[in-house]
Amino acid sequence: MSGGGGGPSLMDSLFQRTLDDLIKGIRIHTPGAAQSSFISKSLDEIRREIKSTDLQTKSTALQKLTYLHSLHGIDMSWAAFHAVELTSSPSFIHKKTAYLAASLSFRPQTDVLLLLTNQLRKDLSSANQHEVSLALECLSVICTPHFARDLTPDIFTLLASTKNFIRKKSIACLLMVFTQYPDAVRVCFKRLVENLEASTETLAATVGVFCELACKEPRSYLPLAPEFYRILVDSRNNWVLIKVLKIFAKLAKLEPRLAKKVVEPICDHMKRSEAKSLVFECVRTIVSSFYEYEFAVKLAVAKIREFLLDTDLNLKYLGLQGLLLVAPNHSWAVLENKEVVIKSLSDVDRNIKLEALRLVMSMVSDDNVVEICRVLIGYSLKSDPEFCNEILMSMLSTCSRNVYEIIVDFDWYVSLLGEMARIPHCQNGEEIEYQLIDIGMRVKDVRPELVRVGRDLLIDPALLGNPFIHRILSAAAWVSGEYVRFSRNPFEIMEALLQPRTNLLPPSIRAVYIHSAYKVLSFCLHSFLLPNRTANFLSEFVDMEPDFTYSESERELPETSGLSETNADNAKNSSSSLKKDTFTRESVVNVLTLILTSLSPLAGSHDVELQERVRNLLGLAQLAQQEISYHDDHKEKMVDRDDLKTSIIIRLINDALSEDFGPVSLSAQERVPVPDGLVLEENLSKLDIICADVQLPISKSFSLVVRPSFLQTDGDSVSSRQNEEESETSAAESTSLLSEHRKRHGLFYLPSDNNQNTSTGFPPANDPNKKDNDVEDLVKLTEESLALKRKSNLARPRPVVVKLDEGERHPITVKKTQSNDDLISGAVRDVLLGNEASSQSNQSSGRRRGKTLSKVDQGSESKDNMENFEIGNSSKRRSKHRIHGKDKKHPSPGNNVEGRDENGEINKKKSGSRHGRHKARQRADGGINVVVQKPVIPDFLL
């Protein structure tokens, strides 16, 4: 024994450590190095012991190994064969150890898995019920398609076992078998259905399996509704009832007629039951599936209220969840419990707080959004940082839903965003940044207010110290630069943008600051040098918007609020006076000095982006300063300002900057029709080589052509628009590169002329030349879509929000490929209805069967066996069922006629499903079962 090449010695097996020894040993050693060295020492022992020929030694070794595997994460895949070997031991404890090891460690890829098939089969037919149960438990975890196919007949036999103990476990195991091998449904489903009528002990497992199946695809189980109904009425087992309720919640959505029948018993349970779990399940079922039944919902809401007021926090939490389910259809229920909900926002329990927050958010509408947000901001100030951000995030996402659907007063919303930025814990900078820019682009009317909010954020030096809101500041800077024409005092903004504390910002955001300063400067110079043009420009801007119609009340509002330039109209009127006062020589000169002094040190910055922008700005400032001071020296009149070099440049820059950016549809590119002869599916691997070849030109030209292609967030869109005037200088270069590239790789380009001519109704993705028209079109488009939605009773007209994707349609919907679920339900439908209604799924699973069979020949034999088996049994069962049907004359509390109907119906249904062979005849005289595509629901439900 001891001589066997590294095998365990006699001493080893005599003095082998037991599992207890191992556990105690682990406990003695302190966690860390000592423990892991002990474990690895034990592992060495185990490796030796497990090779022993003595089964007891082997078993103990395996037991220890399983323990280490399960609780200490030690790999034991190498011991799989030993586990398989030990399952065949005659000793029960060895077998148990081996099966436990298998169920905890085997994976579908385990190579010795197939060796287990025969042992499993043997144990499944063992006389010892505990051996059977070991095999079933193991199978329920490690089942593979192979096992499922080979062992289906054995499970089928067990489903009719006289022992409840075995039957319930084989039923539970069935779920795994079905998932792995959908064809098993054809064999076992009838017996599963029979178990619905069998003893109550197995019922929990049976309805559990049906619940899982119905969750995946409820439609197939509609014909079983009468059975479930009977259980719902008769059963007193809460576990069973909960599962049945879950099944009905699924079925009711498919068959509205079910509701009338089922609501009563559910309400009875709700009133009667002491078990909170059952009551809650009733509530959930009612409010999610039977919400049209007023009395039931009333009862459910009363129960929810009990839960809400309970001291048990679990019940309170579930109560809030229940309320959340009611909310969409019965908002009164939430209103009734408003205090509890609002109070829950400050609960100690995070779950409860979150649930309350969701509830509050579900109540938001365009009428109350202002009020609710005010309350929530208050709560967010009081809450811990985590929940504070949770609140802010849910506010942001609710308000921005469907392109700011619920927001009527954008001025308010923008100032709310500004307020959020100032909340100390706010960490949602990215989202706020996105929304500020997004609103700026989509809603023209709100831009003055946006600039005001941006200004307030920018001039506060304290905010610069908080890294979480740097992103927001970036948006504020962009907004202030882009819409500087609405600013009351551009110089103030300039000072804010250049304040010393901006050195706390990361370079990317600082670059945005500098570029905004550039825009502000060009605006100031423009206003100073070319005052007439500015006025024209502003008036043009107003004219550009044909749909700019204000009602009288709208016009008055901003004036009373004291903001003289709150809307563009006013800006135009006041601009001449404002500009005259503001843009004096000194102020402009001061600004130029400010720029030169504060930015000169940055000209040598190591961040290229920053450096580039600083130099741009410095260049412009220096040029302007020279000329203005030169003219000052010569005491020339300002009349010939127009001829200054600066003026010419400024005019150019201003023209470039004044082009408005609109949002771009996500699907814009998609809507470009694919020209004939363009093959999109072709393998583009060649493209990699080309790209590697000329990386730089491609990216350049790309930014030129598709400039603002995605309106989303971050520096990207900002920087791409900043590229704009840079690219103007390098435009010639780029275009030449582009055309060269096009020449070389013409294959990958759309034929340009063709494309422009064939453009259909939609706006071309982004054609700079057509911009103005596009904007008009878009405005019209949204006008139309708004007109449909807008309710006549809106007091204030909502400003136009540019929307591109109607209903934000998502371009790609992923179609689920045919999964096992479909196969299962297909098989179930075949079995239950026994007709060709689902011949298609029949075929598909047939195909599948064919495939698997062709792989393994013996499979077909066993299949035939099964079929014979099934037929033999079915006749027996049928007769039994007849008797059964007569027995239960009175399950339905309804009147006699109904009762008889039900019985008759069930009989028909049963016989229909029992023997598919006779289905043709049945259809001839009955003609009930054959409604294509739609499973028949028995009349008793009507």
């Binding site: 556990i23 399960s70 609780l71 404890i93 436990l100 497992a205 899982e212 809650f280 679990n314």
Partner: protein, 165 residues
């Protein structure tokens, strides 16, 4: 269905781990660690549910209950009832109480096999098959009897084989 049953002590050591869907052992350990990291932060006197979210995937949630030093945890999806799962923990602990009378962590540590035996009598393939503690107890006792008789027989044969062999 029930996805997993875990027992973790208040220092994060797992005492029992049963997963009803195949889960690689590394992933199991990872999951246990992350569940523990959430559990140990839960203050006292709060609700016993935790939304799955990032931890367990959508639709999943867990319910836990702390008994002395041990967290008993069930992970399940939305075809189970939360309160019923809560009760199930209660049933499981009751049965442990019956088996070990005055159960403590050490009992659980040293009776690893029995913990599995009990669990397997209650849940098969993620489905609850038995909640009646008496029936479960009866089965568990039968199994223990089977184990000891075969073990005793084995020991006997081993000693004889040693004598003669």
């Amino acid at each position: 269905m029930i996805k997993a049953m875990l027992v973790i002590n208040n220092q994060g050591k797992s005492r029992l781990a049963k997963f009803y869907n195949y889960t690689p052992v590394e992933q199991q350990q990872q999951l246990i660690r992350s569940i523990y990291s959430v559990l140990c932060l839960q203050p006292e006197n709060v609700s016993n549910f935790i939304e799955g979210g990032l931890l367990l995937g959508p639709d999943s949630r867990l319910v836990y209950k702390l008994f002395a030093t041990l967290y008993f945890v069930f992970v399940f999806d939305n075809s189970e009832n939360e309160l019923a799962m809560f009760d199930l923990i209660q049933v499981y602990v009751e049965i442990l109480e019956k088996c070990f009378s005055n159960v403590c962590e050490l009992d659980i540590v040293l009776n690893y096999g029995k913990m599995h035996t009990i669990l397997d009598e209650m849940i098969v393939g993620g489905q609850v098959v038995e909640t009646n503690s008496d029936i479960v107890m009866k089965a568990v006792e039968e199994i223990s009897k089977l184990e000891t008789t075969t073990a005793a027989a084995k020991l006997l044969s081993k000693s004889t084989s040693l004598l003669w062999g």
